[in-house]
C-alpha cells in the first residue's frame, strides 16, 4: 500500500466484507478473481491485500455467509471457489442499506450547503 504514492485509496474499516459479498452476487469466484473484480470495478482505486482478503474470506465462511468449494476455472486451473449463501445474500442487503445510510449521513455533515439547496 505504501509502495508508491499512487492514487489508490485505503479501504474503510469494515467495508471489505461488504465488497466481497457484492462481487459474489452474480456467481462464484475464486480468491484472485474477487481481488481482481474489486480492483477493476473500482477503476483500480481499491486494491485488496492478500493479508486482508483471505482472512476476510475465511471469516465470512465461518459466519456462514459464504461457502467454499474446490473446482476448476474456465482456463482449466484448480482453484477454491466461493459462493454466496442465502444468509450471505441477506447480509449483503443489510450491509448495503447500512452503507447508504452512512454515506448519506457523512454527506450531510460534510456538505451542509447541499442540504440547504435541497
Amino acid at each position: 500500500m505504501e509502495k508508491t504514492t499512487d492514487r489508490r485509496l485505503e479501504l474503510l474499516q469494515g467495508t471489505l466484507d461488504m465488497l466481497v459479498l457484492r462481487t459474489l452476487q452474480w456467481g462464484p469466484r475464486h480468491g484472485h478473481g474477487i481481488g481482481q473484480a474489486i480492483r477493476q470495478q473500482s477503476d483500480e482505486l481499491l486494491k485488496v491485500e492478500t493479508g486482508s482478503l483471505y482472512p476476510a474470506l475465511h471469516r465470512l465462511v465461518k459466519r456462514g455467509w459464504l461457502k467454499a468449494e474446490w473446482g476448476v476455472s474456465d482456463a482449466n486451473q484448480k482453484a477454491r471457489f466461493y459462493r454466496l449463501t442465502a444468509a450471505g445474500k441477506a447480509q449483503l442487503t443489510i450491509e448495503r442499506d447500512r452503507w447508504s445510510q452512512l454515506v448519506d449521513a457523512i454527506g450531510r455533515v460534510m456538505n451542509p450547503a447541499a442540504e440547504i439547496k435541497e
Binding site: H30, G31, H32, G33, Q36, E49, T50, G51, S52, Y54, P55, H58, R59, K62, S73, A75, Q77, K78, A79, R80
Partner: protein, 879 residues
C-alpha cells in the same frame, strides 16, 4: 500443520498460478509475470499470522500475549538472578518432595495387587486382646471349624512357615519356606512364570514332595535358570521336586524363598499339628463367594467363630476375649505403611505451603520494587487483566523452572522414600516413576503460579498515580508490609508444627534408645544356628555336641562366656507363645486365672554371659543340663507376683493349658532354682515382663548361641563358624550381630521416622529463616530514610538494632502461638481418624520454640546491623 493451514497454502498457490496465467495471457514475459504475481501475493507469513487469528479466535491472542509476557518475564528475571534462583530452588524442593511422596503413596496404598480378582481376597486372623495377643495364627482344628459351612467364602487358602536347610547346592543354606494346601494358589489368584503351581493333587501324605520357587529366589539364587524346573531339591532329610516358579507377587505375611506342599514338611504331617487345637501355625486367606461382600463374610465367620469358642472352653479362656477379623487383603498388606505415609504426605504438604509462602514473600517484595513499572503501564492504558497477566507469566516461568528441577529431584527423592517405606510394606520396593509424578508436579506448579500472581497488589486506579511514577525509589505501603509479615508468620507457624513433630519423634527415639535393657549389649554376640544336627549325636548317646562346641568357643582368645538359647533379645520377639503357668503352693484367688509369662529356654551360664544379676538362688550349671531333674529359673516379677512375702525357691513350677496330642504335658513340673532381675528383651510390653527360663537340655546345638567377649565381637564369627562346621558339617551360622546392633536394627523404623521428619523440619526451618530474614531486610532497605531521620534527631544505633530485632522476634512469637493453636487443632482432627495420635510433651515443644526463636534472631541480626549502620547523610540525600 493443521488442515486449515495446508488448505490455505493450496489456495494461495492455485491463485498464484491463475494470476501468472492471466498475466501471460495479457502478453507479459513469463518470468516477469511470476515476479509480479508473487509481489501481488505479498508476505506469506503475515497472511498466515492473520489467518491464525481467524482460526484460533480469542485464545490465540491470549496465548500469544502470554508467551510474549513470559519472554519478557524471563528477561527481567535474568536480571534478578539471586531472587530467581532462591524462588526456583525453594519451589523445586517443595514440588519434588510432594511428587516423590505422592508417587510412593500411590504405589503402596492405591495400586492393585497382581493377584487375579484381588478385590475379592480377604485375610482372616484371630486375636486374644484379653491376654495381650493381638496377632494369633490358626490351628488346623480351628481352620477346619471355620471352613465348615462357610457360604460367603468360596474357598480358603492356608499358609504356614517353616525353615528348611537346603543341602547339596554348595554350602548348607537356611531356606525360609511356606507350606500350603492345594487350594492356596488358586484362592490367591497367582500364576506360574514357569512350570506349574501346587494344586489339590499335591495334598495328602501320599503325594510326592513338590516345591515352587518364588520369583526373587529363582532370579537371585538360580540366576533365572529355566532348566531348574523338574530338578530335585534336598531339604534337610527329605527330597522334593521343583515343579515351577511363581510370578512376582507381594509376599504376605512374610517373604519366603520357596513354597512347598504339606508332605515336604514332616512337622505338618505330625499329630501335634493336626489334632492340637492350640498348636497354631497357619495363616488363613479367603476368596469371597460371588455376590458376598466383606461385611457378609465378616458377619458369617464371626458367628461361626463364636460358636466354636463356646464349644471348646478348654482351649479358649473367657478372659482372652477371642476375636476374629476379616480384612480385605490389600488393606491388610498396606496397613502398616498407611499411617507413616500419610504423615509424610502431610509433612510434604506443609513444606510446600512454607515454600509457597516464602516465594510469595520474595515475589511480593519484588513487585513492590517494580510498582513504578506497573504504574507506568497502567497510566499508558494497560488493563488490570494485562498487568495480572504479566505477573502470571513471570510466576509461570518461575514455577515452571521450579517444577522441572523439582521433578528431576523427585526421582532420587522417591527412591529414598521408597526404600524407607519398604520397611513398612514390601510393595514400596517396586514403586516406579510414572506419569502421575509429572501431573502432580505440573498441577502444584500451576497452583503455585496462580497463587503467586494474585499476591501483589496492582496500582489501584484511585491512588495518585503520580506518586508511583515520580521516582525509582521504594514505597512500602502498610498493606504490603502486613502481607509480608503474614506470610512470614505463616511460615514460622508451619515450621513450628513440623519441628514439634520431629522433636516428639526424636524424644521418643532417645527414650527408647537410652532405656536400660538390664543386660550387656555391646560385648555380646548373638549367632543363629541352622541345619540338621550331626546324625552321630542321635545314634551315640555319649556324644554331646553342645558341650564340645561351647567348650571350644570358650577357649577362643577374649571369650568371657558362651551359652546356648532359643531366643535372641528383640530379634526373636513374639516368636514363642506366652506360657500359662502356676507354682505349687500358690493359692489363686477365687476365679483368678493362671498368669501368663514369656518363655526363654536358656543354657548354663546364660545370666553370667548376659550380665543379668541373679537375685536369689543360682543359675543353671553344665551339670544341671545333663542331669535328670527338671529345673527352671524365674524373673523377679514372677516371684513377687506369686510369693510377695515368701521364698519362691525350690517350689515346683507347672505350665498349664498346653497338652500334647497324646494328652501328656510336654512341660513336666520343674523346680525353681533361681530368681533373676527383670529385663527388657521384647518390644510388645502389653503384659508384665514376667519371664520363666526353662533349662536347655539339648545335646545338639540350640538354635541360638550367645558369646561374650572383651575383644571385637565380630572377629569371633569365622572361628565360631569353623568350630561348628568341623563337628557338624550340615550346620551353619547366620545373622551374627552384637545385641547392641540387634537393638539398633529393631529400632530402625523409629530412627528412620525421626530422621525423615527431622529432615523435613530442617528444610522448613531453613526456608522460614530465609523468609524472616528477607522480610526484615526488605523492611530495612525500604526504611533507610526513616532510619537516617531517626539517627539525625538523636536515636542511637543501638535503638535501631533492637527495634529491628524485636520486629523479628514478634513475627516468631506470633508464629509460634499460631503454630501451637493450629497444631493442637490438627492433632485433634487427626485423632478422629487415627487411633494412636499422641500429643507432644512440653519438652519437644519448648525445644522447637527455642530453635525457632534463636534461628529467627540470628536471621534478624544482619538486617538489624544494617539498620544500625545507616549513614545519616547519604540516607537523607538519597531522595
Amino acid at each position: 500443520m493443521r488442515p486449515d493451514e495446508r488448505e490455505l497454502d493450496e489456495e494461495l498457490r492455485t491463485n498464484l498460478e491463475i494470476n501468472v496465467r492471466e498475466r501471460i495471457d495479457r502478453g507479459e514475459d513469463p518470468a516477469a509475470a511470476r515476479r509480479a504475481a508473487l509481489d501481488d501475493l505479498g508476505y506469506i507469513p503475515a497472511v498466515r499470522e492473520e489467518m491464525r487469528r481467524v482460526w484460533y479466535s480469542r485464545w490465540f491472542d491470549v496465548v500469544a500475549a502470554l508467551i510474549q509476557d513470559m519472554r519478557v518475564g524471563l528477561r527481567s528475571l535474568l536480571r534478578a538472578k539471586g531472587l530467581a534462583a532462591t524462588v526456583v530452588v525453594t519451589l523445586a524442593l517443595g514440588i519434588g518432595a510432594n511428587a516423590a511422596i505422592f508417587s510412593v503413596v500411590r504405589g503402596v496404598l492405591l495400586r492393585p495387587l497382581v493377584n487375579r480378582g484381588e478385590d475379592r481376597l480377604v485375610y482372616i486372623r484371630q486375636s486374644a486382646p484379653g491376654v495381650g495377643a493381638p496377632n494369633m495364627l490358626f490351628s488346623v482344628a480351628e481352620y477346619n471349624d471355620i471352613k465348615a459351612g462357610a457360604t460367603t467364602i468360596a474357598a480358603f487358602g492356608d499358609f504356614s512357615t517353616i525353615d528348611f536347610t537346603m543341602l547339596g547346592r554348595g554350602e548348607p543354606r537356611l531356606l525360609h519356606a511356606g507350606v500350603v494346601g492345594g487350594s492356596y494358589f488358586d484362592v490367591m489368584g497367582l500364576r506360574p512364570v514357569l512350570g506349574r503351581l501346587l494344586n489339590a493333587t499335591d495334598d495328602g501324605k501320599e503325594a510326592a514332595g513338590a516345591v515352587v520357587l518364588t520369583h526373587r529366589f529363582w532370579t537371585t539364587f538360580f540366576n533365572s535358570d529355566p532348566s531348574i524346573v523338574g530338578q530335585p531339591i534336598q531339604l534337610g532329610s527329605r527330597t522334593a521336586t521343583i515343579v515351577g516358579v511363581l510370578e512376582p507377587s507381594i509376599p504376605y505375611p512374610v517373604e519366603t524363598e520357596i513354597i512347598a506342599n504339606m508332605v515336604t514338611s514332616p512337622h505338618h504331617l505330625g499329630a501335634t499339628m493336626n489334632i492340637e487345637r492350640v498348636h497354631r501355625m497357619t495363616e488363613l486367606f479367603g476368596r469371597l463367594a460371588p455376590g458376598a461382600s466383606v461385611e457378609n463374610a465378616r458377619a458369617e465367620l464371626t458367628t461361626a467363630y463364636a460358636a466354636m469358642v463356646r464349644e471348646h472352653p478348654e482351649a479358649y479362656s473367657t478372659n482372652a476375649n477371642m476375636q476374629l477379623s476379616v480384612t480385605p487383603l490389600r488393606e491388610q498388606i498396606t496397613a502398616p505403611a498407611r499411617t507413616i505415609l500419610l504423615v509424610l504426605l502431610a509433612a510434604a504438604a506443609v513444606v510446600f505451603i512454607i515454600a509457597c509462602s516464602n516465594v510469595a514473600n520474595l515475589i511480593l517484595a519484588r513487585s513492590v520494587r517494580r510498582e513504578g513499572e506497573l504504574a507506568v503501564r497502567a497510566a499508558l492504558g494497560a488493563s488490570s487483566g494485562a498487568l495480572r497477566r504479566t505477573l502470571l507469566a513471570e510466576s509461570l516461568v518461575l514455577c515452571g523452572a521450579g517444577a522441572i528441577i523439582g521433578l528431576a529431584l523427585a526421582q532420587p527423592m522417591m527412591s529414598i522414600v521408597a526404600r524407607y517405606a519398604a520397611r513398612f510394606s514390601v510393595r514400596a520396593l517396586d514403586v516406579t516413576v510414572d506419569n502421575t509424578i509429572v501431573w502432580v508436579g505440573a498441577s502444584l506448579a500451576i497452583a503455585a503460579a496462580i497463587l503467586l500472581a494474585y499476591v501483589p497488589r496492582l496500582p489501584s486506579s484511585n491512588a495518585p498515580a503520580g506518586f508511583g511514577l515520580a521516582g525509582t525509589s521504594l514505597r512500602i505501603t502498610p498493606g504490603t508490609n502486613r502481607r509480608l509479615r503474614v506470610f512470614a508468620t505463616t511460615q514460622i507457624a508451619f515450621s513450628f508444627v513440623l519441628l514439634a513433630g520431629a522433636g516428639m519423634l526424636v524424644t521418643a527415639l532417645v527414650a527408647l534408645q537410652s532405656a536400660n535393657s538390664g543386660f550387656i549389649t555391646q560385648q555380646v554376640l548373638a549367632i543363629d544356628i541352622f541345619g540338621p544336627s550331626n546324625p552321630a549325636i542321635v545314634q551315640k548317646p555319649s556324644m554331646d555336641l553342645y558341650r564340645e562346641v561351647t567348650q571350644k568357643i570358650a577357649e577362643l582368645p577374649g571369650v568371657d562366656g558362651v551359652t546356648g538359647s532359643y531366643f535372641v533379645p528383640w530379634r526373636d520377639a513374639g516368636k514363642y507363645p506366652h506360657l500359662r503357668f502356676t507354682v505349687e503352693g500358690y493359692t489363686p484367688a477365687n476365679g483368678e486365672e493362671n498368669p501368663y509369662a514369656k518363655q526363654r529356654i536358656v543354657g548354663p551360664g546364660y545370666f553370667a554371659t548376659m550380665g543379668i544379676p541373679v537375685v536369689a538362688g543360682r543359675e543353671f550349671t553344665e551339670h544341671d543340663r545333663t542331669g535328670k531333674e527338671r529345673l527352671v529359673i524365674v524373673s523377679q516379677s514372677v516371684a513377687q507376683r506369686l510369693f510377695p512375702n515368701a521364698d519362691a525357691l525350690n517350689r515346683n513350677l507347672v505350665v498349664t493349658g498346653s497338652l500334647s496330642a497324646s494328652g501328656t504335658n510336654p512341660w513336666p513340673p520343674a523346680r525353681i532354682v533361681g530368681v533373676v532381675a527383670d529385663v527388657d528383651d521384647d518390644r510388645a510390653e502389653h503384659v508384665p515382663a514376667m519371664t520363666i527360663y526353662p533349662m536347655l537340655q539339648d545335646r545338639g546345638l540350640p538354635p541360638r548361641l550367645l558369646v561374650r567377649t572383651s575383644g571385637d565381637p565380630y572377629a569371633l564369627v569365622p572361628s565360631v563358624t569353623r568350630i561348628i562346621r568341623e563337628r557338624s558339617a550340615n550346620q551353619g551360622t547366620e545373622r551374627a550381630a552384637t545385641l547392641a546392633d540387634v537393638r539398633a536394627e529393631v529400632l530402625t523404623p523409629e530412627r528412620l521416622n525421626a530422621f525423615v521428619v527431622t529432615g523435613f523440619a530442617g528444610i522448613a526451618l531453613l526456608i522460614a529463616v530465609v523468609g524472616v530474614a528477607g522480610v526484615l531486610a526488605f523492611g530495612v532497605s525500604a526504611r533507610m530514610r526513616e532510619f537516617g531521620v531517626r539517627l539525625a534527631i538523636g536515636s542511637t544505633p543501638r535503638d535501631l538494632l533492637f527495634g529491628v530485632l524485636s520486629e523479628g522476634a514478634a513475627i516468631v512469637v506470633i508464629g509460634i502461638v499460631a503454630g501451637v493453636a493450629g497444631g493442637y487443632a490438627v492433632a485433634g482432627v487427626a485423632a478422629g481418624y487415627f487411633t494412636n495420635v499422641q500429643m507432644p510433651g512440653v519438652m519437644p515443644l519448648a525445644i522447637a520454640a527455642a530453635i525457632l526463636v534463636s534461628a529467627a534472631v540470628a536471621a534478624s541480626l544482619m538486617p538489624a546491623a544494617r539498620a544500625s549502620r545507616v549513614d545519616v547523610l547519604s540516607a537523607l540525600r538519597a531522595e
